[in-house]
Structure formats: C-alpha cells, structure tokens
Symmetry: T
Subunit: 69 residues, 12 copies
C-alpha cells in the first residue's frame, strides 16, 4: 500500500432526476480538470421545489484524489 | 433579491420504492395546504425491513416556503 | 405494544447502481444469519470513483432487530 | 404498511418533577389541537435551578403525527 | 415558575445589511400571526453573494412561544 | 490498571414507565448472553405515543464489556 | 432584562437511582461554592453496570450562573 | 513558539444591541479576574424576544487564556 | 433551472470591527481570482482578544461558485 | 471491485504508552475471533490519569470487515 | 462505588513532538493547582505549521476531577 | 495583527507508523505547491488493517494558509 497524500475538494452536483445522477454530474464535470479521483462522501442532500415536487436535486460531496508527487 | 421571510416545516415522506419517491410524496401531500414551497434539505433517511429487504423508505426533510407579507 | 429489547448492528452495503441497491444488498446478506430485522437508518453514503463516475456506492446503515427473550 | 406522510413539530414541555413528566405534559397540551401523534424524539434536556436544585425540567421533543390525506 | 408548554418554529429571515437585522425581520413577520414569542436560537447563517460581497444575509432561527392552555 | 480490550454493542431497551427502566430492561436482556458488561452511554431517547401520552420509552444505549483474552 | 454576564461550568453528578437524582446531586454539591446558579443543560448520560443492571447513573451537565459585577 | 498550556472557560455575554457587543461584554467582565486571555470561539447565539423583536442577544463563547507556569 | 455543478471553497476572513466585515473581506479577496461566487455559509466564528476586548473577528465560511462547463 | 457487504464493530483498545498502541492492541485482540478486518476509524480518544499524567490511553474505533457470502 | 460529583475543566496542551506529549504537558501543568484528576477526553487536535511541517501540536482536552465534599 | 484572508484546504496524509507522521507527510507534500501554511486541524483519523494490525494511518486535516493580497 503506497503512502500517498490525497487532496479533498467539495462539489455540489445537480440533477432533475435523482441523487445518483447529481453525484455523477459533479464527478463528470470535475473530471475535466482533476485527475486521479478515488473516492467521495455525500455531505448534504437538498433540492429545489417546483409545483409541489422536486425540480432539482442538489448533492454536495467531498472528492478525494491522489496528489502526484 | 427580495428580502422575504421563510418558514421551515419538517416532514417524513414514505415510499416502498426509493428515497426520491419518498421526498416527492411528502412534497405532494404538503402542497395541498402549503403554498410557495421553495427548497428542502434531507435530514434523515431510514426505513422498515420486511423479508430481508427494504419495505418502506422513510425520509425526513425540512421544507422552506415564503411567508406572505 | 410489546416491550421488546432490540440490538443494532452496523453494516456497509455496496452496489454499482444505486443507494437503494446498496442498502438492500446489505440486508439480504445480513438476513442469512440475523432474524427479526425491523428497521434501519442510513449513517453514511460514500463511494468509489472510476473514470470520472461512481463505480461503487457504499452505504453504511444501522439495522435494528428484536432480541428473542 | 401504509405509505403515509408525517409532519414533525417541536415542543418544550416542563415539569418540576421529572423528564418523563415534562414530555407527557408537552404531549397532553399538544393533543388538544393535534391528532394522530405517533412518536417523539428527545432533542434537548435542560432546566432551571432554584436553591441549588432543579426547579423545572425543560425537555424539547420532536413529535411526528400522520398528515391526513 | 409556571409549567408552560412551548412550541418551536423555524424561520429564515433575510436582510441586505446584517445578521441582527435578518433575525429581527423574521421576528417582525412572524409576530403578525404568532403570539407570546419568548426566545430564539440561531441555527444557521448563510447568504447570497453579488459582485464579490454579501448581497443578502439569510439567518435561520428557532423561535419558542408559549402555547396557551 | 489492566490494559483490557472492550467491545461495544448497541441496544434499544423499552419500557412503558421511564427512561431508567428502559435502560435496565436492555441490560437485563443482554446479560443473558453477554458477560462482563461495565459501562453504557445513552445515545438516543425516543418513544411511542398513545392517547396523547407516552406509551413506550425507547432508549438506545451503547454497552461496553471486557473481551476475555 | 439586565445585561448580565454568565459563566458556565461542567459537572458530572452521580446517583444509583435516577437521572434526575444525579443532576440534583451535582447541583447540591456545586452550590456549596457557587452562587447564583440559574440554568443547566444535560450534555451526556452514561453509567456503570453491575450484575446486569445500572449501578450508577453519571450525568454530565453545564451550569450557568451570574457573574457578579 | 512557546509550549504553553491554556485553560478554556465558557461565558455567556448579553447585549440589547448586537452579537459583537455581547461578546465584548463577556470579555470585559471576565477580564476583571482572568489575565492573559488570547482567543475565543462562538459556541451558541440565542436571545430573548420582546414585542416581536430581539430584546437581548445572548452569545456563549469559549475563551482561552495562558496558564502561568 | 440550469443543472450546474458548483465548487465550494473554505475561507477565513478577518476584521477588527464585525462578523459582517470579516465575511465581506473574505469575499472581496477571493473575488480577485474566483468568478461566479453565488452563496456562502458561516462555518465558524472566533477571534483574538486584546486588552479584554475583541481585537479581531475571524469568520470561516464556505463559498459556492459555478464551475464553468 | 467486488460488491461485498461489510460489518462494523466497535472496540476500545487501551495502552499505557500511545494512541497508536491502543489501536493496535484492539485489533490484535479482535483478530483472534474476527477475520478479514479491512479498515478502522477512530471514534473517541480518552484516558485515565494518575499522578498528573496519562496512565492509560483508551481509544474507541470502528472496524470494518468483509462478511463472507 | 461512591456517588461522587466531578468537575470538568477544558485545557489546551502543546508540544513540538506529539499528541501524547501535548496531553501530558496539559495534565502536568494543571496538576499544580488541581487535585484528584481522574480522566480526560480529547476534544480537538490542531497545530501550528513551520517550514512545511508541524511545529507545535495543540490538543484540547476535558479533564474530570473529584469535587471534595 | 494584520487582517489577512486565509484559505483552507483539506488533505489526507498517510503513514505506516503514526498519526504524527501522516500529518507531516501531508504538509510536506502540500508545501511543494502551497506557500504560507499556518495552522491545521485534524478532522478524521482512520486507517487500513493488515494481519490484525494497522498497516497505514490515514489522517485528514484542514490546512489554513494566508492568501497573498
């Protein structure tokens, strides 16, 4: 097991459909500039309401990625 | 940006199928008597078990709505 | 209402697909050795990342079951 | 198991005698206007002091009740 | 010391100017329909940003008021 | 002071009468199969409501006991 | 309403009998050296186990008292 | 950097005007008997209500001061 | 409502005068390099003490800004 | 990545010397009966005092291990 | 088991070397004026940085000691 | 005291040997690209297990550094 150092960043992904999609949208967007993402934790789940239903899921996650030496 | 005042109420929605459905069921029911619901936060996710599987998702949310002046 | 005593155990279920599946996988596995499971609470939601998307949902739950007298 | 929606309200009951009495006093008072109360959780226990002893127990609870469809 | 029962409601007040004003705005608005408000606790402080400065303070409080017997 | 290792288990005891009884009921039941129980911490206090009063106290505790070498 | 300053101290009271007694024992003892105690909050409830029952309740409280100008 | 030991005390300051004044009032009062106060953290903000507005801000802080060797 | 992804960064702003100024100082400084800041949450309020009064307010906030696609 | 199910157990390890030793002592003892231990999290660090120094470190951890299918 | 009352005080110990030393330094210093210290809990671990390494460990603990009757 | 603005980043350092080494490894690595690091707080301590002992300490810290004006 390598003794790496990891950095954690916090992101809020959104989706009209589900919590899972909101997380994947955040990772997809972050992946454009961040490499070596390894794990995430869900920190908060909230959303916007329109016409008595959820119009947008907003999920805040922390993402850990390996710092390259 | 208007300087509104919002009230928050806490609800537990239930669904046999998913966390998302449980939240939507809570909002749909609350919408019968509450107007101007704007946002929600998920406070707790729990459920009932039957035959070694989830029989009911129980999701507690806080809902914010605009107080009419 | 019977005055039972319940024991709580903590499990982490995993799934490539959804939070709901991860919970059900944990319950299914635990049900092989634990009887009388009644309720669960979601304690933590996290996961592994592969190619800028969620490769595995990891959901930690507490499960309550009746202790047989 | 019916897929009801529940509302949670927060109350502080008081009693000169015990934590249990403070909770029951809150439920008794709330029951005058709220129907279908099902469960409660104790959120905070505090109190007032007089002559080096507890003069009043103040127990804050959340109460869940069924929203009628 | 009377053994009253209190109800707690949660409000978010807003103000372009200060945390204190946001709380007072919430209390002023709530006072139109709620009587006997006695105390509050600050639960969360957040806000909106415009042109690199705070455009709106949003302060969520819990307010306790006496339930009339 | 011996350098023992302890295991902690989580239990929910119930009682129609008091928080103290609910804890003692949990310990009495657990004591049928667990030896060397030393301390407990109260993790959560909740209950069921019937006719505007507490019908059952439900107290969740963690119990520490010595692992025998 | 006077604009006093209060100091808070933290105490653990104990009792073989009940949570309420443990709190009162702490206040009685503290009252020998502290004047003007006004309120307390319960911070933690734990205890010792003997023969599968509670042998001692240990309740940690914070106590607020007026600082004399 | 000296390897000092610090003690932390907890205080509640009050003010009719602002959170900042409540903290300063607590420090001013404590400074009559405590020397070498270095830093504080805000632990809780609450207050009293009169005529639908804040009549008193009550801010609880922890204060760290150097223990003299 | 667009399904954006947001990044959150954590900052500590300082001011000799007030909590509000400390937050605005953090935003002003961050705005030199970060675009599209939308909201903030106050995470911690602390400060330095000099001559029995607050010499510096130190307010830690999280700031959310839109990630450009 | 296999979609395993994990169980978490809670242990308190002790040592007169260090936090690290207390954790290792807990794992060594648990390993006599538990297989496939994979990760741990430190939940609480406390200890006993003798003659104005630490006589025993008491570290509570959660340990995750693979449930065999 | 005697039904003592305990007081808890909060201290921050510091050390250039380790968490364990920081705790022992706090206890040694406190022991000059406090008698009958029995247990401690670690509340927070932080530190100062110099030249990309830890220059000082700062560990905040609560210490419980017996109040003499 | 200068009224600087600080940024906080979150890192996970690892070490086979100790919590202290894991923190220092994180700081050493971060120091390659971040200047003016001033303080850190330990947010979480966890680790990997191999052959019934700790094979890797994983310590998550927040690091504060001065933003250059």
């Amino acid at each position: 097991m390598e003794n790496n150092v990891y950095k954690l960043i916090e992101l809020t992904g959104t989706s009209p459909d589900s919590i899972e999609d909101a997380v994947n949208n955040a990772l997809k967007q972050a992946g454009k500039t961040v490499r070596n993402m390894r794990w995430f934790t869900v920190e908060e789940t909230r959303g916007a309401i329109h016409e008595n239903g959820v119009s947008q899921w907003q999920v805040t996650i922390k993402v850990g990625f390996t710092l390259e030496p």
